[in-house]
């Protein structure tokens, strides 16, 4: 296990602690929550293989389920994000052309692409989460609305974090 991986695990631990301590729940006409689990998985180091990402997604999900007593909802959502994150990353960023292969935490240079990538994965995570939570076709509108609002809140919440990391990247 390289130093980069250890630093990434510390980073993931910090984010999990942050999520556990600050649980923001907003109830307007729908359910708005901030879940940064997708962000933890989507910043996995570039040199990691897909299997490692899957394991990371699984364990982060189990941990979130333990914290929120949510019975496998986070595990399934987070595992799915772990599976599809590399595809989306390859699609949104031209990863092969970048020269930061050894960075411990992945954040792109382009702000718009960053937002599409992290926001998209958060939305994907949350739509799986809410679909399993309500588990009813009757609530499809509520599921979509809750996922959209929560993804928006989550992106707003993580925006300063990845913006900070991006600036550090540019400075180097």
């Amino acid at each position: 296990m390289g130093t980069n991986s250890i630093r990434y695990f510390l980073w993931a631990f910090l984010l999990i602690l942050l999520q556990a301590l600050i649980y923001i729940q907003i109830n307007l006409w729908t359910h708005g929550i901030v879940i940064i689990s997708a962000f933890i998985i989507s910043t996995y180091p570039t040199h990691w293989g897909r299997n490692a990402v899957l394991f990371m997604g699984f364990f982060v999900g189990v941990l979130f389920d333990a914290i929120y007593m949510s019975g496998g909802l986070h595990t399934i959502a987070s595992l799915s994000v772990g599976y599809f994150a590399p595809f989306l990353r390859q699609y949104v960023f031209d990863v092969d052309a970048l020269d930061f292969q050894e960075k411990w935490c992945f954040v792109g240079f382009n702000q718009i692409r960053n937002t599409i990538y992290f926001g998209g994965l958060s939305f994907f995570y949350l739509i799986i989460y809410f679909s399993l939570l309500f588990f009813s076709l009757k609530h499809i509108f509520l599921i979509s609305l809750s996922s959209f609002l929560s993804a928006f809140l989550t992106t707003l919440f993580i925006f300063p974090i990845y913006n900070f990391l991006r600036k550090r990247l540019i400075r180097r």
Binding site: L21, N27, D65, A66, M69, S70, G72, T75, I76
Partner: protein
């Protein structure tokens, strides 16, 4: 054999994903009962400490201890006030209500702070920061300052899990105060967070909008004290089968804003004496 090895190597990520996903779905499938007991047993202490830590860290600075002490005192004072709840003596006649009984001999109120609440599930629960070492026992009725919150489902030495009235597995025997008729109060997910369904109301009942509903009192082995408010009827209509009436009840308890609750312990000895005195009258 080589082909098999090639197959596993070629599709290892997909197979691993499927395998882990199946584990995730097994958590999900057993989520209602298995998940609760499993996580509660093994993770209960960790989660409790985490929530307690979050509570302490995020509470306002140096006043946190003073604030906590004042809240506890406030809870005790509220509990003292609630001890005027009427007791319904178990009898064949549901109207056998004993008024002005000194409930301090019969009931014991344990204040507890809510540290976790779920509202979006079909089996909603509340986690309390008091457990069996503080006198909380299984099947105790839990109420806030306004009405019934739920029943204690499980206890550990320092925490207790309450199955709230917003839980499809919980049913109460209820009494309509104006007509003294018995009914069954239960919750269905589609009713939302502030309503509960009152079923099995006799067909000839004159229950109407605005009538108060409270717990019925001890029936059989149930130790739930009577007269604790459940809510107010907002609509009455015939059940789909037509055999009895059904009513929608607005819950008295504020489930979305729970802070302190009271677990009601029924003292067996005092209750038995009261039953002997009044039960057959």
């Amino acid at each position: 054999m080589n082909r098999l090895i090639y197959f596993f190597t070629r599709y290892q990520t997909g197979l691993l994903f499927t395998f882990l996903l199946l584990i995730g779905f097994s958590f999900f499938a057993f989520g209602s009962s298995y998940h609760q007991s499993w996580y509660f047993n093994r993770m209960g202490n960790i989660v409790f400490r985490l929530h307690a830590f979050r509570e302490n860290v995020l509470s306002p600075g140096k006043y946190v201890r003073v604030n906590r002490a004042l809240s506890e005192e406030n809870a005790l004072l509220k509990a003292a006030k609630i001890q005027e709840v009427r007791i319904l003596v178990p009898s064949n006649d549901p109207r056998a209500i004993v008024k002005n009984v000194d409930t301090t001999k019969l009931l014991n109120f344990h204040p507890a702070k809510v540290i976790y609440t779920s509202l979006n599930r079909k089996d909603n629960v509340v986690l309390l920061d008091r457990g069996s070492e503080d006198g909380i026992q299984r099947h105790m009725l839990v109420m806030d300052a306004h009405g019934v919150v739920g029943l204690v489902a499980k206890t550990t030495p320092h925490a207790a899990l309450v199955a709230t009235s917003l839980n499809e597995n919980v049913e109460f025997n209820a009494r309509i105060n104006t007509t003294s008729e018995k009914a069954v109060a239960k919750w269905i997910y589609s009713l939302g967070r502030d309503r509960i369904l009152l079923t099995e109301i006799p067909h000839k009942s004159k229950a109407s909008k605005g009538d108060k509903v409270s717990t019925f009192g001890p029936v059989g082995e149930s130790n739930v004290p009577g007269g604790v408010p459940i809510g107010t009827i907002i609509s009455v209509e015939a059940s789909p089968t037509g055999n009895y009436l059904e009513a929608e009840v607005k819950l008295a308890a504020q489930m979305e804003r729970l802070s302190y609750v009271y677990c009601i312990e029924v003292k067996e000895s005092g209750y038995t004496d009261l039953i002997k005195d009044y039960g057959d009258k």
